[in-house]
Symmetry: C2
Subunit: 268 residues, 2 copies
DNA sequence: GTCGATCGAG
DNA sequence: CTCGATCGAC
């Protein structure tokens, strides 16, 4: 059976529920992983999903900040949320999707943004980000390597040179500092993950999933970053069929600053 | 020449500029007096008015609160704003509209709401409202009596029994307490004004211009109040041709809690 | 209920 | 620039 899975930092799912509906109608992913839903589970707009046949929903939300949700038109088993860094933040959820011979485990992450100042000594938000990466690394080491698994989300780090519009100008900007990009590479390698987006798009080619709200003419300036990611374990590597970055979404009415990314897996 | 003049507490002109445009397109008043524009003059959405041929605009605005604007498709001479109660509030503006033999003076007022507790000793907002009425009375006494003049606005008082859904239940509710209703009558009589709305609608008939946001089913409950008024001097009394309360406006998308009131004057 | 201001966060 | 929370005002 094939599987298509999308990840999207929606920056308030309630405010943008119509955009999400349009996206599901037009792109029909099997699974949608949202980040920054910005509401507790009780206020999640379930109906818009169920109306469209997305009846399997797992929400890890909190009031006002962060929050992730995994939504699927294929049945899944909720696996649970891990609370990283003992902060009470809703930044992770996981589900297991039956897929012929065994399940595919799907991790949905929202890594802390890290504030402005890239110094953990003076910026506790940056320290939190680095601690989160450390904990991701140890928790994921060996955990899914020998299974069929997918890790998606807003990882808030653009790891490679051409994941940002200017490597040089962003080296001291949070999301592209060496301690973060190297940290994220360690997480990826420790878990044995393959970077699905870069599997299809050469590392020499610019690839973005986020454009700041502050630049009025985002399309012309095109000062983007690749903050959103889809990783798969080697057991799924041979099934990777394609990647789509829905760049158009940045130009929709009242958009999120992130766009959806979709990965398509061939049948086993 | 005929003249039609509308008054509308818009509760943020920027948020509801599309509603205002629709109203102008559909009802085509010569003059529109807005209250509670809630922005300084610099942020006033002039373009939407000019695009529609309303090229004469006088704004007395302030940041976040209150603010009035008089908008006209007929030329006028700005007369100025009076600052009542030395509070720095933007609650009045006036213009003079050439009308054959002499001008028609148009006063646009936003009287303070007065808070919840109808006791000036313990509620300074109520004291301010009463002081505002006092100052209106002395300032207007004899001032326009012998001219062609119109006074419109959100006066935040429902003066007569049938200006509220329940006279008995509102006697101790701010906007319908005796000290306010009597005070407003004194203002009206001291200036020699005629109540144009009650000129057409008998005092025994319910007449409202405002329905609270808090009542979810405003139309069915119909617990309204007549807070918005159009007064004219005797020199214009014989020209009063009709009054329209645009009640529908309360049911528009994201409405103001007040609806527009339009007065039509016949040619001299 | 609905607004704008202010704030922290992105 | 845009979001939600909080607040005071209506």
């Amino acid at each position: 059976m094939t599987l298509s899975i999308a990840t999207w930092n929606i920056n308030s799912v309630r405010l943008r529920i119509d955009l999400v509906g349009d996206f599901l109608d037009s792109h029909q992913p099997d699974v949608l992983c949202l980040q920054e839903i910005k509401c507790p589970e009780a206020n999640f707009p379930y109906r818009a999903f169920r109306e469209r046949g997305y009846e399997h929903i797992l929400v890890n939300g909190q009031k006002g900040y962060h929050g992730v949700a995994t939504i699927s038109r294929r049945p899944f088993t909720p696996v649970g949320h891990r609370e990283f860094c003992r902060k009470g933040d809703a930044r992770h959820t996981s589900v297991a999707i039956p897929d012929g011979n065994g399940d595919i485990l799907v991790h949905n992450f929202y890594v802390p943004a890290g504030g402005d100042e890239p110094d953990p000594e003076i910026n506790p938000k940056f320290a939190h980000k680095l601690a989160f990466l450390d904990e991701m690394k140890s928790w994921l080491t060996g955990r899914e390597t020998d299974r069929k698994a997918i890790l998606v989300g807003d990882l808030n780090i653009a790891p490679y040179e051409h994941d940002v519009w200017s490597h040089r100008q962003l080296l001291r900007i949070v999301s592209h500092t060496p301690v973060e990009t190297e940290g994220l590479e360690e997480v990826r390698q420790a878990g044995g993950w393959l970077d699905a987006m870069r599997h299809f798009v050469p590392k020499e080619e610019k690839l973005y999933t986020w454009w700041s709200y502050r630049a009025p003419d985002w399309e012309k300036a095109n000062k983007g970053r690749r903050l959103d990611h889809i990783w798969v374990t080697p057991h799924l590597g041979h099934r990777l069929a394609g990647i789509e970055v829905v760049r158009d979404a940045r130009g929709w009415q009242r958009p999120s600053d992130h766009v959806p990314v979709i990965a398509r897996l061939a049948a086993a």
